[in-house]
């Protein structure tokens, strides 16, 4: 059973390997030039999937700077204590319903006022954290949340600077997927598009020049051109 689990856990690599082999096989085995190009595309796409899957973190969100929104929210809350509006804004800023993001929000809310509710919120926070899939990342969050809550009472709500700092601090707790492989693959996709376009353009030209896009026929035509009729027949057979 261990083996099954070992294989199943790495399903993204299996997808990558199967697609890659399929693509390579098509490139090698098919004689039609368009099919070769499609095989090449499958082959490249498998690599894109591989890169994207190594950058993905379970429960991670898109790497978008949440702290900026929190900053604004903290400012707004400091000025007119418009809780509902501000919180709604914050919720917008956190994409997905991941427990961690929600946790961060809760902690913020408590920071802004209702200290009585702090205990409650803390318990919900840790409760949610237990259910979270990515334990390592979540571990950090509750403890930081606790720290903030303990530190909160002495703070003045009007103290913009520290509120901003805290908001930024909490934003750092949001788990991001690693954006770098995704960006790399964006580049590779563009390269792939260019390759496909050049390849198709060549196929169009080949079709115009030879009247066929089957590799063996092309070879036969070239052999006729180079060695004359008889030799080509021998080579084709």
């Amino acid at each position: 059973m261990d083996l099954v689990a070992f294989l199943a856990e790495r399903y993204n690599y299996w997808i990558f390997i199967v697609l890659m082999m399929m693509g390579l096989y098509i490139v090698i085995a098919r004689g039609n030039l368009i099919k070769k190009l499609i095989g090449l595309n499958v082959f490249q796409t498998s690599v894109f999937i591989y890169y994207i899957s190594i950058g993905k973190i379970t429960g991670g969100t898109a790497p978008i700077y949440v702290a900026g929104d929190m900053e604004r929210w903290a400012h707004g809350a400091g000025h007119d204590a418009g809780h509902g509006e501000g919180a709604a804004h914050g919720a917008d800023a956190l994409p997905g319903k991941d427990p961690l993001g929600a946790g961060a929000l809760h902690a913020d809310e408590t920071l802004q006022g209702d200290f009585e509710l702090a205990g409650n919120d803390l318990s919900t926070l840790t409760g949610e954290a237990h259910g979270a899939p990515d334990t390592q990342a979540v571990h950090a969050a509750p403890s930081d949340g606790v720290n903030d809550l303990l530190a909160a009472p002495p703070l003045k709500i009007e103290d913009h600077a520290s509120a901003v700092a805290d908001a930024a601090h909490k934003a750092a707790e949001v788990v991001y997927s690693n954006p770098l492989p995704h960006v790399l693959i964006l580049t590779a996709i563009v390269v792939g598009i260019a390759t496909t376009a050049v390849g198709l353009a060549l196929v169009v030209r080949i079709r115009e020049a030879y009247g066929t896009i089957e590799e063996d026929e092309l070879e036969a035509i070239d052999n006729v051109a180079e060695f004359g009729e008889t030799h080509a027949k021998g080579a084709a057979a």
């Binding site: 030039l33 190594i54 390759t195 030209r205 080949i206």
Partner: protein, 499 residues
């Protein structure tokens, strides 16, 4: 802005900006001279910048340039030490000669309406090769490599105006090249997964001599991918046709540069990125690179003997010469590496000159079949002389660069306790005597065909760059200070970083 501080980026940004402008220039006014002159001037600017970089690296030390002011390892870094300064100078130097050389040859070989596109593509091809060489970021290598490859596919296909087989050659090159590049990307992904960084020096730092199967697999993918791009035997099948049917000036440029750059990347990844201390690296030297290099040296040279087309013959000979370079690397010694670097540089010089001579013959005789070379010594004496000198250099006759690199290889082989390797190098050189000798015999001893129309010598715009390259073949054969000493220092730095 201090020009000196911005120097490393000039060889990249200047042609990159100039190439699209060349697209806008008129192709048919003044016989397409406008884009020609424009791109030639740019190529000279780039060469000047590369020489300045080379001088600065040789006297002061490695240069590191941070793109976007982001410090490495997070940002992309252009890092130039002696090894890539040498390759940079080679690529830009060949570029500076091929651009002025190409005009007459290209005008007769491609569709005249495409001349502006041709020069833009050639410039972009050069940018790609320079970028691969200059960058210190592993993924950047892939991007620039594809920039140069894509433009090369288009350039090769432009030969279709003369011979439609250029199209199938370009298509095969595209398929093989893309597979190679994708393998390279897979290898990079594995390395990135193992280390979390893409900066070349930082990959090695993070690995810290730690071996695991992910790194091994990444290394294998990178070697195979780059081997495809470098036409390492037996992954060379795209190359003979691509070189034979590409427009002649393009053959001269890519034969002298693109495979060399791929070999450089192999060296760079073995020493700077992975580090050659690993068991699997030395195993790869002993059981993969060395046997394939030897097979390439012999097999490709033997195939070259039986070619009836001079450009194809030269292409097969290139496969053999790539074998020499990799053979030198596979010794795993500083001297072997230095010999490889010297040969890399020297081979660029001789293959450039040989393909240029072939281009001149193509222009005047209209063919690159061997039969067209009969009696050429009388019909086109200067071109024939250039071909002969560069050919002798390829064989390794004293007073030429070929001798220097063979000598370096031989002494590296003996010093590393591989006398058999020295024997193999000499033996395969005799094969070069046969295939080059065959053409020389045709040119000097055979009379021209009876009914051959009288032909002129190649135009000056072609002769001068060709003669400069031939002179370089002799100059660097006499004055070894520049190449050999620098290659030794470069090898020392590469290996030193490996310790």
């Amino acid at each position: 802005m201090s020009l000196l501080a911005q120097l490393p980026v000039i060889p990249i940004i200047v042609p990159l900006v100039a190439a699209p402008l060349a697209v806008l220039m008129p192709a048919e006014k003044m016989g397409g001279r406008i884009p020609y002159i424009w791109t030639t001037l740019i190529a000279w600017t780039v060469f000047a910048a590369c020489v300045a970089i080379f001088y600065s690296v040789a006297t002061v030390g490695p240069i590191s340039y941070h793109l976007g002011d982001w410090a490495p390892p997070i940002g992309i870094e252009y890092r130039i030490d002696l090894a890539n300064a040498l390759v940079l100078t080679l690529v830009s130097g060949i570029g500076a000669l091929v651009f002025p050389f190409s005009y007459e040859s290209i005008r007769s070989e491609i569709d005249p309406r495409q001349i502006n596109l041709f020069y833009a593509a050639l410039l972009i091809c050069m940018v790609g090769l320079l970028g691969v060489t200059i960058t210190g970021d592993a993924f950047n290598v892939f991007v620039f490599l594809e920039i140069s490859s894509l433009s090369t596919y288009a350039l090769v296909a432009m030969g279709a105006n003369k011979d439609r087989r250029a199209l199938t050659a370009a298509f095969n090159y595209l398929v093989m090249g893309t597979i190679g590049a994708t393998f390279f990307v897979i290898g990079l992904g594995l390395l990135y997964q193992a280390t979390g960084t893409l900066n070349m020096a930082d990959v090695k730092f993070q690995l810290a001599g730690d071996n695991n199967r992910m790194v091994e697999a990444g290394f294998a993918f990178i070697i195979v991918g780059m081997g495809l791009k470098a036409a390492m035997f037996p992954m060379h099948l795209w190359m003979p046709n691509a070189y034979a049917y590409a427009p002649s000036a393009v053959s001269a440029f890519i034969a002298a540069t693109s495979t060399k750059v791929a070999v450089y990347v192999i060296i760079r990844f073995i020493y700077t990125v992975i580090g050659a201390d690993f068991d699997f690296a030395s195993a790869a030297f002993a059981w993969l690179i060395a046997p394939l290099a030897i097979a390439g040296m012999f097999f490709a040279s033997i195939v070259a003997i039986f070619q009836s087309d001079v450009k194809r013959m030269l292409a097969y000979s290139s496969v053999g010469q790539i074998g020499y370079m990799l053979f030198g690397v596979s010794f795993g010694t500083e001297q072997g590496l230095a010999a490889s670097l010297v040969h890399l540089f020297n081979h660029g010089l001789m293959k450039g000159a040989l393909f240029m001579a072939a281009a001149a013959v193509m222009l005047r005789v209209g063919s690159h079949a061997c039969s067209g070379y009969a009696g050429l010594a009388k019909r086109m004496p200067l071109t024939a002389a250039a071909f002969i000198i560069a050919g002798l250099s390829l064989i390794g006759v004293p007073l030429t660069v070929g001798f220097i690199s063979k000598w370096q290889l031989l002494s590296a082989a003996f010093d590393s306790g591989r006398p058999w390797a020295g024997f193999l190098i000499v033996a395969s050189s005799f094969l070069a005597v046969i295939y080059i000798g065959r053409v020389i015999e045709l040119m000097v001893l055979k009379p021209a065909p009876e009914n051959a129309p009288p032909i002129k010598e190649a135009p000056l715009s072609m002769l001068i760059p060709m003669m400069i390259l031939v002179a370089a073949n002799i100059y660097f054969g006499l004055n070894t200070e520049l190449t050999v000493d620098l290659a030794e220092r470069a090898a020392h730095a590469l290996m030193g970083a490996g310790r």
